[in-house]
């Protein structure tokens, strides 16, 4: 009754085909099957945001999506955003501002932050906090993270007036 299901999807631009059990969530599929371990698994019930990835352009919780639901979907993980250079400036702002300590939440923070900056090029600090409200950081607090996102927004605006 719980046979594997064949799926075909794109992950960071590459076609992936696999046979998966229905109970396998997308986060575990990315980590265990594809060895894309940048997507972190924290709470496994949608509260912490560490597993945030993009599905068809929208950020989602990969612990709250089954791998079988990604049939024909385009998934982008932190590895994809990092390798393409899309968030290089955001990553260096995180480093410069000490916006990470243990780094566990960072991939999810970067996914959520880039999502915000794509929708809203000049968010104020309150808007940044609101957009990150679903992402927990347990070491540094949020001040430095908000600083890094704010300064990235300023820098991007400077480049593209």
């Amino acid at each position: 009754m719980t046979a594997t299901v064949a799926i075909a999807l794109s992950v960071n631009g590459e076609l992936v085909e696999a046979n998966v059990l229905p109970r396998l969530n997308l986060a575990d599929f990315l980590r265990e099957h594809l060895k894309l371990t940048g997507t972190h698994v924290g709470c496994e019930h949608g509260v912490c945001g560490a597993c945030t990835v993009r599905v068809n352009g929208d950020i989602v919780r990969s612990c709250l999506m089954l791998a079988v639901q990604t049939q024909n979907a385009a998934i982008e993980t932190i590895e994809g955003l990092s390798d393409s250079g899309e968030i290089a400036d955001l990553q260096s702002a995180f480093r410069e501002r000490n916006a990470l300590q243990c780094g566990f939440c960072t991939p999810g923070m970067l996914m959520a932050a880039q999502d915000l900056l794509k929708q809203s090029p000049c968010p104020d600090r309150e808007r940044i906090r609101e957009h990150l409200s679903g992402n927990y950081c347990r070491c540094t607090g949020y001040q430095a993270i908000v600083d890094a996102i704010e300064s990235t927004a300023w820098a991007r605006r400077g480049r593209r007036p």
Partner: protein, 293 residues
């Protein structure tokens, strides 16, 4: 934790989904956005034998206006409601409410049908359905059934749907032009479960309420359309009238205790929301200064 094992079927049509629900009954669960079902499965609070995934039934997605009726398909995501021009124009209360539902990544997957069928007493959309006088449309083996919102929610995670039925859409009367609304909820962090919330819709004439509908949530085992609202209609609102309405509201509430708040705190906050709502809608700052005792 991880969900326990289950079988999975991707429904190819509403009829196909209904066939599976008829066969499996309570042993099956419908998966739409999965933002309530999958946490419950990961926490092993539910362990269905079969998951019927309706995610590809695109005919259940979208918002349409026909005459005086706004129809929202069950698979319409919270993110879609937030961006919908039809919702902004014809049910602005709903747009305000959706901004309070969880976080962006959740709103990108969660659906209106899923939220209503899940019937969490602390969630925003069920209360909005009561306030807006929605009709919930379900399809089952016997055909279509139209259920008034005030008969739909029957308890914690309990609705009038049978295990063989699928929620396919909701219909809302288009909000009248001269109507106004209020939405607010108390939560410890933006997007968290509401401690208490209020979704209100009103018509105002000459400084008085001609109509007032107050949908409270997280004040009991289901959302509440407060009958005490009638005490505020067609009368000049004075602090004494407001206190009387708040006291009548208190009698209607049956708040639960959980780690977020005691019943007494919820009763207090419901009255604070009532006062703020009335004060704001009537533009009477004198009424909202504090909570009536």
């Amino acid at each position: 934790m991880k969900a326990s094992a289950f079988a999975y079927a991707r429904a190819t049509s509403v009829a196909n989904a209904l066939e599976m629900l008829t066969t499996y009954g309570e042993r099956a669960k419908v998966l739409s956005g999965g933002q309530s079902l999958l946490p419950a499965m990961n926490l092993r609070l539910v362990a269905p034998e079969l998951i019927v995934d309706i995610g590809e039934l695109t005919e259940l997605r979208g918002v349409a206006v026909k005459g005086e009726v706004l129809t929202i398909g069950a698979l319409t995501r919270h993110a879609d409601l937030l961006k919908s021009r039809e919702v902004a124009a014809h049910a602005p209360l709903l747009k305000d409410a959706v901004a309070h539902i969880a976080h962006p990544a959740i709103r990108n997957r969660g659906t209106i049908g899923g939220s209503l069928a899940h019937a969490d007493p602390a969630s925003e959309l069920p209360a909005c359905m009561l306030t807006l006088g929605a009709t919930i449309i379900a399809r089952g083996p016997g055909g279509e059934r139209r259920i008034a919102a005030n008969e739909f929610f029957v308890g914690i995670y309990e609705t009038a749907l049978t295990p063989q039925e699928l929620l396919v859409a909701v219909e809302l009367p288009v909000t009248p032009k001269n109507s106004t609304h209020f939405f607010h909820e108390f939560a410890r962090r933006h997007g968290d479960y509401a401690i208490v919330g209020l979704a209100a819709q009103a018509s105002i004439r000459d400084g008085r309420f001609a109509d007032l509908r107050l949908g409270f949530f997280a004040v009991g085992d289901r959302p509440l359309l407060a009958e005490s609202a009638s005490k505020l209609v067609d009368v000049a609102i004075t602090p004494a009238v407001l206190i009387e309405a708040a006291s009548a509201l208190d009698d209607e509430l049956d708040p639960l205790e959980d780690q977020q708040a005691t019943p007494a705190m919820r009763r207090h906050l419901a009255k604070v929301l009532l006062a703020r709502c009335v004060s704001l809608l009537l533009a009477r700052p004198d009424l909202g200064a504090g909570a009536p005792a």
